[in-house]
Symmetry: C2
Subunit: 294 residues, 2 copies
Amino acid sequence: MTLIDGKAIAQKTYAESKAAIANLKARGVTPGLAVVLVGDDPASRAYVRSKDKMCHELGMHSVKHELAADTAQADLIALVKQLNADPAIHGILVQSPPPPHIDERAIIETIDPRKDVDGFHPISVAKLALGDADGFVPCTPLGCQRLLIESGIEAAGANVVVLGRSMIVGKPLALLLMNKGKGGDATVTIAHSRTRNLAEVCRRADILIAAIGRPEFVKADFVKDGAVVIDVGINRVDDLNTPKGYKIVGDVAFTEVAPKCRAITPVPGGVGPMTIAMLMANTIASAQRFAAGA
Amino acid sequence: MTLIDGKAIAQKTYAESKAAIANLKARGVTPGLAVVLVGDDPASRAYVRSKDKMCHELGMHSVKHELAADTAQADLIALVKQLNADPAIHGILVQSPPPPHIDERAIIETIDPRKDVDGFHPISVAKLALGDADGFVPCTPLGCQRLLIESGIEAAGANVVVLGRSMIVGKPLALLLMNKGKGGDATVTIAHSRTRNLAEVCRRADILIAAIGRPEFVKADFVKDGAVVIDVGINRVDDLNTPKGYKIVGDVAFTEVAPKCRAITPVPGGVGPMTIAMLMANTIASAQRFAAGA
């Protein structure tokens, strides 16, 4: 059984990112990312902080806008438009979820599709569905695909089961893996809460991707011997044996599943580190396209 | 074995369409469809003619633009913009495929998404991917779903295999059937030319949908006993025993497959009649939304 080391693979992509950034800087361009946070949700704050920190580590330009929880939708839209027009910014991300009075779709649709490094603008979604490689793919699905590629796991022709049909992970990942080309050409099944005989469907998978958001939901009987398991879940469960009183577990019951696998991602340290890495890669790709005059 | 009668089901939808049109007319609105054809491909001409004819039969407003094969892209875009601005037009369809000098994506993206009754604008694609019911779904996938619903075949929880990953049929149909709600909630697998053990994958299907564009490709060993088979294929094959010298066959080897099925669509007379029926339904839905001030 191989443990897929997301931290190490993320580091490899950062090395590539640094080279690409050096190249851009030599041409007078510094890739710039703007992250907008509305409200003070602690988890969202932590995500925004780590994105900002990673930009600094890589030598990218980073702008962080932290707005009050009662910010008006019109003001948020005005800020996004200002960032659209700012030539120093190549990527714009509005941290999800915004407070309930904000229409998140309207915000996302305001982002210039050329700066939509989060990959949720309709134009990005459509390009992914069309298999058009010049759109942005959401960071977590892109990170999952990259883990497979870097681990030498061939998606082409493989039976992939994606457990979960969210627009954040399940559907874009299914589209990504079924599209033609490198890291694609898989035979993809999307399973979900309404799937009959769920364990049996999952057992058919050569590559099983769990993105259902339920702690340790995938048990040993969901997994074929020799399968590859990618665990997208990040669930907080009570654990009084830890100083914080909780621990983070994935959607996979790791201890019982891992021995059956050809390869598996741990949680934490699997998919998690890839999400920010792919956000940086998307922002750099955007800067490259702008520099090329696209 | 039940033969799914696409003509009869299309007629049922036309009866509904007529009632909806009468309702709109009572409010002073006549649903209007504009179809644009560039060039003189005989098959495209025939499609455009039948769309126009159906509009007239239903009492809808129909506009047909037949442009020369060497029409400039800019002129085609100008026409689409004119139709976007025309309040008598609720649906715009540019017959596919246009001549090679035309960038089809640019034309589609020019169509006002509110009039995109063909369902291929990025906004429509994204809404389908997001499971947002107020977008337009492409007519052939929508027709396939409608055939299942009208035949009392439950998609929810069923194992559906969609054979073919085109953006015209395979992918939108997969999204439609996996989305939440009526006629959805299926467990969908998309199989294609790169799928290993294709017959075995297809044999898992409770509902098998063939949209691969290869005449009589699906044989008896692709089909589980008691499965439902929807044949989207329309293939012209030589047949010297017919006056025309050819016949139309589907993607399914009907004679050997039909006896194994719980239900199956014939070709012709299955999915085919539903495509135009759903185009009419989409145009009427658009007129209703415009009338409601959307």
